[in-house]
């Protein structure tokens, strides 16, 4: 316990505290930091310009989460339905992209999406002669990149409860007169919600703070908070405002994580209470 606390303090609490402290100072006239106490950096976070970027980030992360959950759940479902001995192999392929570097994976999308990229060439090969579609440097490209990068998490998170599900539950539902669709909606889906929630929170939190994917696939415009923070620290040289933005971002992530932890806790509490009742 004690060594863990030391590490946590050294690696998480101290740096976060430093960044937090930074957010309460002024930017020096020629960059640097002017050590006079102020709240104005936090005020600026709520400026419509920046608040808009927060909202935009949340929208992009939310869309990516939705797509990743739908696609990831379907993939996990298919894997869990495959013969037992094939499942580890399919899972291996599902997480295979993780073995390569994040940057390389993102660059691969540039190769795919750029005006003379693979997709355009494929269209040409099928006889398309018009203007090459503009796919790179769009919001769609950013969403595609985020979905692609975090999909394996969703697949793994959804596979766990799906593979543990007793197949006789679905059969019992059919036996009692339910169609396949009703069985999915009333039995399979409710019993695998924890996996979906875990995967979704993961994708959302990692997406909303992401700056590499929007920078490479979104074409350098201020699309997401991650880029804005990066820019404050490395281009605009406004460390205090960058720190305030970073704190706001962390606050959003913490809220999402806490909401999920609370929901999971409540579910576990109900289960424990139920166990206690059965024993008593």
């Amino acid at each position: 316990m004690a060594p863990a606390l030391v590490w946590l303090t050294a690696l998480m609490v101290v740096p976060c505290a430093l960044v937090l402290a930074l957010a309460f100072f002024r930017r020096g006239i020629y960059g640097g930091i002017d050590y006079t106490f102020t709240f104005e950096n936090f005020g600026l976070v709520f400026d419509p310009l920046y608040a808009g970027i927060f909202l935009n980030s949340a929208r992009i992360a939310g869309t990516a989460t939705l797509i990743a959950v739908v696609v990831g759940y379907a993939a996990a479902y298919a894997i869990a339905a495959a013969p037992r001995r094939w499942q580890p192999i399919f899972l291996f392929f599902a997480v295979l992209p993780f073995w390569s570097n994040y940057l390389i994976r993102t660059y691969a999308w540039i190769v795919l999406l750029n005006r003379e990229g693979l997709i355009t060439q494929l269209l040409r090969w099928f006889g398309y002669t018009g203007e090459p579609p503009s796919m790179l440097y769009t919001e769609g490209a950013v969403i595609a990149g985020l979905v692609y990068n975090y999909l394996p998490f969703v697949i793994l998170a959804c596979y766990a409860p799906l593979s543990r599900l007793n197949p006789e539950l679905a059969e019992a539902s059919r036996d009692l007169g339910a169609s396949a669709a009703t069985t999915f909606r009333r039995v399979i889906l409710p019993l695998t919600v924890p996996g979906i929630a875990a995967g979704a929170v993961f994708v959302f939190v990692l997406s909303i703070g992401n700056f590499v994917t929007p920078a490479l696939l979104g074409g350098g415009r201020f699309q997401m908070i991650g880029n804005l923070v990066y820019d404050q620290f490395l281009t605009a040289n406004d460390w205090p405002f960058g720190a305030a933005l970073a704190m706001a971002l962390i606050a959003i992530m913490l809220l999402v994580l806490m909401a999920q932890a609370l929901a999971a806790n409540r579910a576990a509490g109900r289960a424990a209470e139920a166990k206690g009742d059965a024993d008593g």
Binding site: N166, E168, L169, E171, A172, S173, R174, D175, L176, G177, A178, S179, T182, R186, V187, P190, L191, A271, A274, K275, D277, A278
Partner: protein
């Protein structure tokens, strides 16, 4: 009494999984309102046969006729048949009431009707006070009753039960056997129960089928199967039997030591063929009268009281295994025996069954 009506006809049904033949050309008729048991050792194809009746497997061959209509390819949600799973398969996220209501909601019945039918079945199965509990808050016996209520509330033409008492401890199992029989009588639904416990099927079934390696060996009332087993396997599997190996002679079996066991030889057996003569332990008497057809002297190796009766292991020259003999406690009191005693055993020719080896 009118001729019992056939509800379900299983006609030459087979099921192959790749190279494994799980069910091999079984034909059976199950009658309206009867309590029918499918009995056989583990792996003989009982669950596979039941799953074909429920609609979870399609026969590789043959027909399944319910009220004369072939349902072999009807999906499970379109059959008036319900299955009570070996694992119970209760929905863990639903209360007892929601579990039981589920099947009626699927029939889109009016809310009030669902409510009254669920209330009625919860009362029948003594689950009223558990209606709001989740399955994980129930004991094994309560779960079993919920699974039963959930299937019964649909009022199926046929209720299938896969080893319904397998998960319960021995004492509870005995009580539930009688309870199931009472319920079947009360609701008037045809029950087909699967079990590997021969005692259980003897206690519960009106008629039963004995399966082995996917094939039907015998189908009859428990009494008829016990008294007239179709072959050596059935004789051994149902109840306890003493076997004497030997060769077929004119009016019985010549044992290896030269002794003759008198009994009726089946027409299919020709003299000189290898055969076994068999007799149930309760048909053997100690110290028989001189005119008893079959008599042999042996040594008592062990004896045990079972309340009403006394069981003896008697070593004889007739067979490598000791004879098991069951005598009433009364008889034992009249003429006490103890371990190591020489005793004479005797049984009638009418009680001998002879099978091909």
């Amino acid at each position: 009494m009118s001729e019992p009506r056939t509800l379900l006809a299983i006609d030459q049904v087979s099921k192959k999984f790749g190279r494994v033949t799980a069910v091999d050309g079984i034909s059976l008729d199950i009658r309206e309102n009867e309590f029918f048991a499918l009995l056989g050792p583990s792996g003989c194809g009982k669950t596979t046969l039941l799953r074909m009746l429920a609609g979870f497997e399609t026969p590789s061959d043959g027909r399944i006729l319910l009220d004369g209509k072939d349902i072999a390819h009807t999906p499970p949600n379109k059959r008036p048949v319900n299955l009570m799973f070996q694992s119970y398969a209760l929905f863990p996220h639903m209360s007892v009431r929601a579990n039981v209501s589920y099947g009626l909601e699927m029939e889109h019945l009016p809310k009030a009707e669902i409510r009254s039918r669920v209330d009625a079945i919860l009362a029948t199965t003594e689950l009223v006070q558990f209606a709001d509990r989740k399955p994980e808050q129930l004991s094994g016996g309560q779960k079993q009753r919920v699974a039963l209520a959930r299937a019964l509330v649909k009022r199926p033409r046929l209720l299938l039960l896969d080893e319904p008492l397998g998960a319960l401890d021995k004492k509870l199992r005995g009580a539930m056997q009688l309870e199931l029989k009472r319920l079947q009588h009360e609701v008037g639904i045809t029950f087909v129960i699967v079990t590997h416990d021969q005692e259980e099927s003897l206690v519960m079934a009106d008629r039963m089928a004995v399966l082995k390696d996917g094939r039907l060996l015998q189908c009859d009332t428990p009494h008829a199967i016990y008294e007239h087993p179709a072959d050596r396997f059935v004789a051994d599997f149902i109840g306890v039997m003493n076997f004497v190996p030997g060769k077929v002679s004119a009016d019985g079996v010549m044992a290896v030591n030269g002794a003759r066991i008198a009994g009726k030889v089946p027409a299919a057996l020709s003299p000189g063929a290898s055969a076994v003569a068999s007799v149930r332990p309760e048909r053997i008497r100690l110290f028989p009268s001189a005119e008893t057809a079959n008599r042999i002297t042996g040594t008592v190796e062990a004896l045990a009281y079972h309340g009403l009766d006394l069981q003896l292991h008697v070593r004889t020259p007739l067979s490598p295994r000791p004879f098991l003999v069951r005598v009433t406690a009364d008889a034992a009191d009249r003429r006490p025996v103890s371990s190591g005693d020489q005793v004479e055993l005797g049984w009638d020719a009418a009680d001998v069954r002879i099978f091909a080896e």
